[in-house]
Amino acid sequence: MIYDLLIAPFAEFDFMRRALVGVLALGIGAGPIGVLMMLRRMSLAGDAMAHAILPGAAVGFLAAGLNLFAMTVGGLVAGFAVALGAGAVARATQMKEDAALAAFYLISLALGVLLVSLRGSNVDLLHVLFGTVLALDDATLLLIVSISSLTLVALALAWRPLVLESVDPGFLRSVSRAGAPTHLIFLALVVMNLVGGFHALGTLLAVGLMMLPAAAGRFWTRELTALVGVSVLIACGSGVLGLLVSYHSGVPSGPAIILVAGGAYALSVLFGPVGGLLPRFLPQRHLEA
C-alpha cells in the first residue's frame, strides 16, 4: 500500500525518476538561495527576476523552437542583463535596488512581449510558463544538476561576505571591497537557479521553490545554518510530495509541487515554534529572567 503510494511511481516510470532527480537538485540549490534572498529583503526581487527571464526564454523559443540551449541562453541573457543593470544602477546612483529592479524587469518584459507579438505566430508558450518537469531529457537534467552544483560551490566560497553584507553592509564596506562583487555574484546565482527552475517548473513558479521553503523555515529556527537545512528539506520534500500528488491525481506537476510548498508554509505559519500563530496563543507562563 505505502509502496504503491510512495515508491511504485518512481520505480516503475523512468520519467518519474528523472523528475525526482530534477526536483531534488533544484531544491538543494534553491533552498540556500531563497534563505539569502529572504534575509536580504529580496523576497519579491526573485519574482521580478522571473518576469525578466520570461521574455528571454520566449525569444529563444521563437528563434529555435523547443531548444534547450536557445531558451537557456535567452533566459540567462535577459536575467543577467536585468540583474546586473539593476544592481549597477543601485550601487552607482541614489536609486534603491528594488526600484531599479522594477524598472529594468518591466522594460525587459515589455520588450519580450513586443518581440513575441512581432513574430505574430500563435506559439504555445505554456510550457515556458509552467515547465515540463515530467519530460526532462538528459541534457536538461544535466543543466539543472550543474547549476545546483555550481550554486553550492559559489555559495560556499562567498558565504562569509554574503552573510556579512546582509547583517551589516556598512561594516563590510569599511573593511573590504568585496561587497559589490559578492552581491553581483549572488544575483547571477539567482538568475541561474531561476533558469534551471523554469525548465522544470516554468519561469513564474520557479521562484516558489526558493521563497516558500525559506519563508516556512523562518518559523522553525533562529539559526542561519539550520534555516538553510530546513529550507532545503522543505524544498526537496515539496518536490517529491508534489510529484506524487501530481501522479496520483493527474494534476499538473509544477503547480502541485509549489502548492505542497505552500502547504508547508501554511503549516509553519500556524504551528512553527518561532513566532508561529498557535504557540503565540498557547498559555505559557513567563520565565523568571
Partner: protein
C-alpha cells in the same frame, strides 16, 4: 610621533553643497580627539571622509595610515537586528582583517573573541541572537567587534548616544584603554562634560573649524556661540564657492 591624518583645504559634502568647508589641520598619532559641534555641523561627514566612505569635493585628506588600519563605527550602525545570527558571530566579524574572505578562525582567535566579549561585559551572551539585545548591549557588542579589529585609528560617531551612565562609563574606559595602547581615537560627541573629563583635544566644527586644540581652550562659551551662529541652513541657491572653483581649475591645469 608623526601625523596620522592631515586635512588640506578639505571640502566634503553632498550634491555640491559643502558639509565640511575648507578644513585644514593635522591629527597626531596617539591623539584622543573629540569632535563637537551643533547638528548639521559636518561631524559625521568628516568621519565618513576619513573612513573613505565619502570622497572630497575639493582638497584632500593625507592619511599616513593604511585603510585597513582604520576602524569606523558609524552613528547608526546598519546592523539588521532581525538577522538570525548570534552575538559571537557578530563580534567575530572584527577578525575580518585577519581572516578575510576564506581564512579560518584559529584557537587563538577564539580566545581573542572571548576576551573581547569579556572586555565589554558580555560574557555569557555568546549564543544570544542579536535581535534579543538591548540598545546598550548591542553597542557593547559593536565595541567588542572594534576591539578585535585591532586598528591604529578608531573613528566613533556618537558612540554613546542613548546609553545609560554605566554603559558610557564602561565604554569610555575602553576608549581610554585603546588610546593608552598608542591608538589614535577620533570621536564625535555631544556631552561636553564627558569631553572635558576624558578627551584632551577637541575640534569644534561648524562646517568650518571654529577652534581646534586643547579641550579647555576650545570649549569656551564664546566659541560655542560662534559655532551655533555659523551653522546656517542649506541654501538651494548658494553661489559656487570661488576658492574651490579656482582650486579645481588649478588642479585641471596641473
Amino acid at each position: 610621533m608623526g601625523n596620522v591624518l592631515a586635512f588640506r583645504n578639505l571640502t566634503l559634502g553632498y550634491d555640491r553643497h559643502p558639509a565640511v568647508h575648507h578644513l585644514d589641520g593635522e591629527v597626531a598619532e596617539g591623539d584622543l580627539l573629540a569632535i563637537c559641534g551643533p547638528n548639521g555641523a559636518g561631524k559625521s561627514t568628516l568621519l565618513k571622509g576619513i573612513a573613505g566612505v565619502l570622497s572630497p569635493l575639493t582638497g584632500r585628506i593625507e592619511g599616513h595610515i593604511a585603510a585597513r588600519d582604520i576602524a569606523y563605527l558609524p552613528q547608526a550602525a546598519e546592523v539588521d537586528r532581525s538577522f538570525p545570527i548570534d552575538v559571537y558571530d557578530l563580534v567575530s566579524m572584527g577578525l575580518w582583517r585577519r581572516a578575510g574572505l576564506f581564512g579560518g578562525i584559529s584557537r587563538a582567535d577564539r580566545v581573542r573573541i572571548e576576551e573581547a566579549l569579556a572586555a565589554v561585559g558580555l560574557e555569557g551572551f555568546e549564543a544570544r541572537p542579536i535581535g534579543t539585545l538591548s540598545g546598550g548591549q548591542m553597542q557593547r557588542a559593536l565595541f567588542a567587534r572594534l576591539l578585535l579589529q585591532d586598528a591604529r585609528l578608531l573613528l566613533l560617531d556618537e558612540p554613546f548616544t542613548a546609553l545609560d551612565a554605566g554603559t558610557i562609563t564602561d565604554l569610555t574606559a575602553l576608549v581610554k584603554r585603546w588610546n593608552g595602547e598608542g591608538r589614535t581615537v577620533i570621536a564625535v560627541l555631544h556631552d561636553f562634560e564627558l569631553v572635558r573629563g576624558h578627551f584632551p583635544r577637541t575640534l569644534l566644527l561648524a562646517r568650518e573649524a571654529v577652534a581646534w586644540g586643547a579641550t579647555g581652550e576650545v570649549l569656551t562659551p564664546a566659541n560655542l556661540a560662534e559655532a551655533r551662529r555659523m551653522c546656517e541652513a542649506w541654501d538651494e541657491d548658494a553661489p559656487a564657492c570661488a576658492p574651490s572653483l579656482k582650486a579645481t581649475a588649478a588642479g585641471r591645469a596641473a
